[in-house]
Symmetry: C2
Subunit: 242 residues, 2 copies
């Protein structure tokens, strides 16, 4: 497949291509492709750029990750397919652990995701060992699986493209949750401590940059911030329809 | 996979399941799954219901199909996976032909789509024979492929989940094009003669109903109608964000 760099939707098409490759590599499920499509739609509505409110949330996220006692970056197949490099770089920049977390658990897929991340330089990838497995209260065991060395003892967890139930359970269990999600209306950003309404491929490099600058966020109100994202989408719908 | 009927997003999840099954059957490409995801997003923004402006367009479409000299329903893998029954029923109700039309042409996939439609009762499915193939001017040959017995001589073409370039080329070649598409901002509905901003699984049964009633549409302005759809999305964003 060849996409000319001059194509107006080059980045979006390249991302789709990476997720499709992820299916071939056995790290993304068919449902992950549907999720990518939903993301494309919301990213289009955001103008495929980091809006101001997202940048604020990214700065806040960098601060929280730097201040954490034990931070974990929770990854799934789509995140790994889209930006394994940035996951590994962020983990190093803020001294966080990386943990695999799948909506539909599969030992084989989790193992492949771990291999991709290690090939990109991750020292260790949690979530793969049966012996370290424990359950978060409030979810059935397939969905509540965490690693007791990772999310189990973490105070700050960064999730990307995560579902609402799991985000809610993490918050109820005392974790501060940073959620990266393109849909400001979905339950995940509504339940998270800090919600970044941005494409994960733009959000992670921004968080890395802020972390390297030793980010200190100004006042931050997550609900206000989510409203700003919605306002941006409405402004963009107006622009697009004229 | 089991989805309880009581699930608030039962219909949407069932549709996703049908498209995923379509991949297994070899009638949908991975990119078709991404398209399904984009559709889910816009359908969510429409409230997963037929809005009033869409119903008007569906009535107009039924009238055009009934009045056509030669109508064709153009189908791809996603449409076939989602609602092959309704395609066949509509073709009978308005005496239209069915033609397979793929973004990425594959003889094997086209053949399988034809088989699914025939199993649902389609008498004939155009677009599969090499001998009847011709090109619509204005598109490269892979994208411009039509059947000379079908779209080649049709005056009215119904397309669903079609791309903008092809829609534009059909209109430029004198066809009246009815487009079913969930995204009111995409080029397809902007280029079509009558644009139905609705889920194809709701739109086709509505068109069938109107056709059976011998639909006579009132005045119809496509650009006005598209504006109405956008307005509905903005109202819904307001509702969802409060």
């Amino acid at each position: 497949m060849e996409i000319p760099r001059s194509h107006p939707r080059y980045k979006s098409l390249m991302q789709r291509h990476l997720v499709e490759e992820g299916v071939e590599k056995g790290i993304v499920t068919p449902t992950g492709l549907v999720a990518q499509g939903r993301g494309e739609c919301f990213d289009y509505l955001l103008g495929e750029r980091t809006i101001e409110s997202a940048e604020k949330a990214e700065k806040k996220a960098a601060e929280m990750l730097l201040e954490a006692e034990g931070a974990v970056i929770s990854v799934n197949g789509n995140v790994t397919a889209l930006c394994a490099d940035a996951v590994v770089e962020l983990a190093k920049a803020v001294e966080a652990n990386i943990e695999v977390n799948l909506f539909y658990w599969s030992d084989d897929r989790a193992k492949r995701i771990g291999e991709v991340l290690k090939a990109k330089g991750a020292k260790e990838v949690f979530g793969l060992d049966e012996e370290s497995k424990e359950d978060i209260p409030g979810l059935d065991s397939a969905r509540g699986r965490v690693d007791k060395r990772g999310i189990g003892r973490a105070d700050v967890v960064l999730v990307a493209l995560e579902d609402g139930d799991r985000t809610e359970a993490l918050v109820k269990n005392g974790k501060k949750v940073i959620a990266i999600d393109l849909n400001p209306l979905s339950r995940t950003p509504r339940k998270a401590t800090v919600s970044i309404i941005d494409n994960v491929t733009r959000a992670l490099p921004n968080i890395i940059k802020f972390a390297k600058e030793g980010a200190v966020a100004d006042g931050f109100d997550n609900q206000e911030n989510l409203k700003e994202a919605l306002k941006e989408i409405k402004v963009r719908l107006d622009e697009l329809s004229h």
